[in-house]
């Protein structure tokens, strides 16, 4: 290795050890992150593309602005940031570790001058008995001291929470741990989705990026799907009853899965996400009776199908809804809009019948009175499927981050030295954070010492 090589490596190392770089990267990450919150990410909607010029589109495309958080330059920034954090920590940790593991045990005159908090107290007694008195005092009021003898003087040293100095490095480590967790997730996990029609099952889900099929290795069946609404028509709950069949055996049976309560099996989690009608083959049920009396007749028909009624007229279903309050706020429950064509043709009549209001149609005044008995229209449930083996690594990192923040901000390394000479005791103190608070504690300690 030539000297210029070493010079270059040294310069590179110094570059990454700089806190200036860390501040610069933090500001740069903050500033560039704004781009992706303004420009729609993923596949931008056509309306958006119409608002920007061809040239702008090409520039955005080239810079990866439509998927900027995964673009090479943003990922590079994140890697630079990680290297920066690690280098800064490696450079500074040994010095901090030395303060913790090899504390200054002796407060000599030159060291005393570096301390902002010192106090002399005159006390009677020889050095040895004062030493014992001071040791007991520190143990009772602060913490267990270490005693060193030098040139006939005794030096006592006591400290509290020295490890709080590591807080900032715990935070740095936590960021690296979170990144590792994210990498594990992106290499060994996937995000997928699947739509399952009620009563059917699947063992294949589809990757959200690229629609690539993924084999689950077991089958998930949707036994039932239901949706309920508030009186205002806003959705209240979507619920799928899911059954998992692994190796021919039912291992999870009819587990209700709702938003905010997913189903997990073998590290793969299924989240209730969307729903919809499975197709046009739903069957609708009605009861028809004649106003003048007689046996009610039950009818079942598909949408678009025409059925003959007892009086020779015919009916068909135009549309139906599970919850009508979205369209007609004064009503609730299932409803169907049907059309009745009089016998031998003529003007067809369309009207709505409600499942929850069986007597409603009587008010229409027609000879035939309809009630709607509901449908067994098949629904599909839309599930998000995720596998992320790195998620526990991420949570570990998050825990470390909070613990590290508390250590770094709310705890301080407090140190007290006492030098014992014949007839004289000198106190020195220092804290690496919250000096005013420590000064109060130090003054209190001095007062107590004077009372001895």
């Amino acid at each position: 290795m030539t000297t210029s090589d070493r010079g270059f490596l040294q310069t590179l190392w110094d570059f990454f050890c700089s806190v200036k770089l860390a501040i610069f990267l933090l500001i740069l990450l903050a500033a560039t992150s704004i781009i992706g919150t303004i420009i729609p990410q993923g596949t931008p909607p056509p309306e958006y593309l119409q608002t920007i010029s061809e040239g702008k589109y090409k520039i955005y495309q080239a810079l990866g602005f439509f998927d900027m958080y995964h673009s090479w330059w943003f990922i590079l920034l994140l890697y630079l940031f990680t290297v920066n954090i690690v280098a800064c920590s490696i450079k500074r940790l040994p010095r901090v570790w030395k303060i913790i593991s090899e504390p200054v045990l002796v407060m000599d005159d030159s060291f005393e001058k570096t301390l902002s908090l010192t106090h002399d107290v005159k006390m009677n007694g020889d050095a040895a008995s004062l030493r014992d008195k001071m040791a007991a005092f520190l143990k009772g009021e602060f913490s267990e001291p270490v005693i060193t003898e030098r040139d006939g003087e005794y030096h006592l040293f006591a400290q509290k929470s020295p490890y709080s100095r590591l807080g900032v490095y715990v935070v740095h480590l936590s960021i690296v741990v979170i990144f590792i967790g994210a990498l594990i997730g992106s290499f060994f996990g996937y995000k997928a989705y699947v739509n399952i029609v009620e009563g059917t099952g699947t063992s294949v889900v589809y990757n959200r990026a690229g629609q690539k099929p993924i084999d689950l290795g077991f089958t998930v069946r949707c036994d039932d799907f239901s949706v309920s609404f508030y009186e205002t028509g806003a959705p209240k709950e979507f619920k799928s009853l899911l059954t998992v069949i692994d190796d021919g055996k039912v291992v999870v049976e009819k587990r209700p899965t709702i938003v905010n309560d997913p189903l997990s099996y073998k590290g793969i989690t299924f989240y209730q996400s969307s729903y919809g009608p499975a197709g046009e083959d739903g069957l609708y049920h009605f009861t028809v009776r004649e106003r003048k009396g007689g046996e009610p007749v039950r009818l079942s028909l598909h949408q678009g199908e025409r059925k003959l009624l007892p009086d020779g007229s015919s009916m068909q279903v135009l549309e139906a809804a599970q919850e009508v309050s979205q369209f007609m706020p004064q009503f609730s429950g299932a409803a169907a809009r049907i059309e009745v064509t009089p016998k031998g043709g003529g003007e067809p009549q369309a009207f709505v019948v409600f499942k929850n209001y069986p007597e409603f149609d009587a008010q229409r005044g027609a000879d035939l009175i309809f009630t709607y008995d509901g449908s067994d229209e098949k629904m599909f449930t839309g599930l998000q499927v995720a596998k992320d083996p790195g998620v526990w690594v991420v949570w570990t990192g998050c825990f470390l981050m909070v613990a590290g923040c508390c250590m770094a901000f709310f705890m301080s390394h407090k140190r007290i030295w006492i030098r014992v000479r014949k007839g004289q005791v000198t106190l020195g103190g220092s804290a690496n954070k919250n000096q005013p608070g420590f000064q109060l504690a130090f003054d209190g300690l001095v007062e107590k010492l004077k009372q001895l």
Binding site: L26, T232, E237, N260, C405
Partner: protein, 283 residues
């Protein structure tokens, strides 16, 4: 007594408190400053009762959820947390004059919520039906409130530092003389931020945990998530600049105000101007 009436009393109390604090700036009487704090505390107690009552009212009409589910409720809660953090700092450090710069933030929030927003209790959509809502919203807003207090203190700092400079260290007269020394203001700014930063961190983490629980991804670069990270980056830069590069005083005050501006954008700007998953501000 309805929660809406109590919210109005709280808003009115903050208005009185602010006016008393302004009087305090002029007359410099200790009793007046004490009265300002007392009125703010009275407002806080009423405010707390109102939030609890609204919670109960939501159960009475069969919707039963914590009052943290839409923009109105979040602004009301934000004001509450600002007074909470102000109270903590007021009781601990006793610099009453800080109230003149912090209570207006709470008053602004309450006045906006009471006068400009629909206060009706709405049912909880499925996405918000989770205990995580409580943990996530409380940690985030306590963090936001600490940053609001830091911003108020930084504004005081800049006024004081600006007035002190030309007189060349001579005693500045009038209102400014009431301010704590710039050293203390700088320290309070830092103290408020080290309360806010871990809370924001917890808020982001609880949000990620909830997102993972509800959707299977702890991070999806949604605008709200991204902006919370931007705020986090800014305050992280503040802390590093302070610890290792000696950025104190004016630079720190400016960075604290920039940080709070980003916080407000994260809270309101994202909902009102951008689209995303946190839709409570929409429409």
């Amino acid at each position: 007594m309805t929660s809406s009436m109590l919210f109005n009393i709280a808003t009115f109390s903050y208005l009185i408190s602010m006016l008393v604090f302004f009087t305090f700036l002029a007359v410099k009487s200790k009793q007046v400053g004490f009265t300002g704090s007392l009125v703010a505390y009275f407002g806080f107690v009423v405010h707390t009762a109102a939030i609890i009552l609204r919670w109960k009212e939501s159960y009475d009409i069969g919707m039963g959820h914590a009052p943290l589910s839409n923009l109105y409720e979040s602004v009301v809660f934000f004001s509450w947390t600002i007074i909470l953090i102000f109270g903590a700092i007021d009781l601990k450090y006793k610099y009453r004059v800080v109230g003149a710069f912090v209570v207006p933030f709470a008053l602004l929030g309450m006045a906006w919520a009471q006068l400009g927003m629909d206060s009706g209790i709405q049912p909880l959509v499925p996405a918000l039906q989770s205990n995580w809502l409580l943990y996530h919203v409380i940690t985030c807003f306590l963090g936001y409130a600490a940053f609001a207090v830091a911003c108020g203190i930084s504004i005081m700092y800049l006024i004081k530092a600006g007035k002190d400079e030309p007189s060349g260290g001579a005693q500045a007269g009038g209102i400014i003389a009431m301010f704590p020394s710039i050293k203390i203001l700088d320290d309070l700014n830092y103290k408020a931020i080290i309360i806010g930063f871990p809370l924001l961190t917890l808020g982001i983490i609880t949000g990620a945990a909830w997102a993972n629980y509800a959707w299977g991804t702890y991070w999806s670069w949604d605008p709200k998530e991204t902006w919370s990270l931007i705020v986090w980056f800014i305050y992280a830069a503040f802390l590093h600049a302070r610890f290792t590069r000696g950025w104190v005083g004016k630079k720190a005050a400016v960075l604290s105000i920039v940080g709070f501006a980003a916080t407000i954008f994260c809270y309101l700007g994202v909902n009102l101007l951008l689209s995303g998953l946190h839709s409570y501000g929409g429409g």
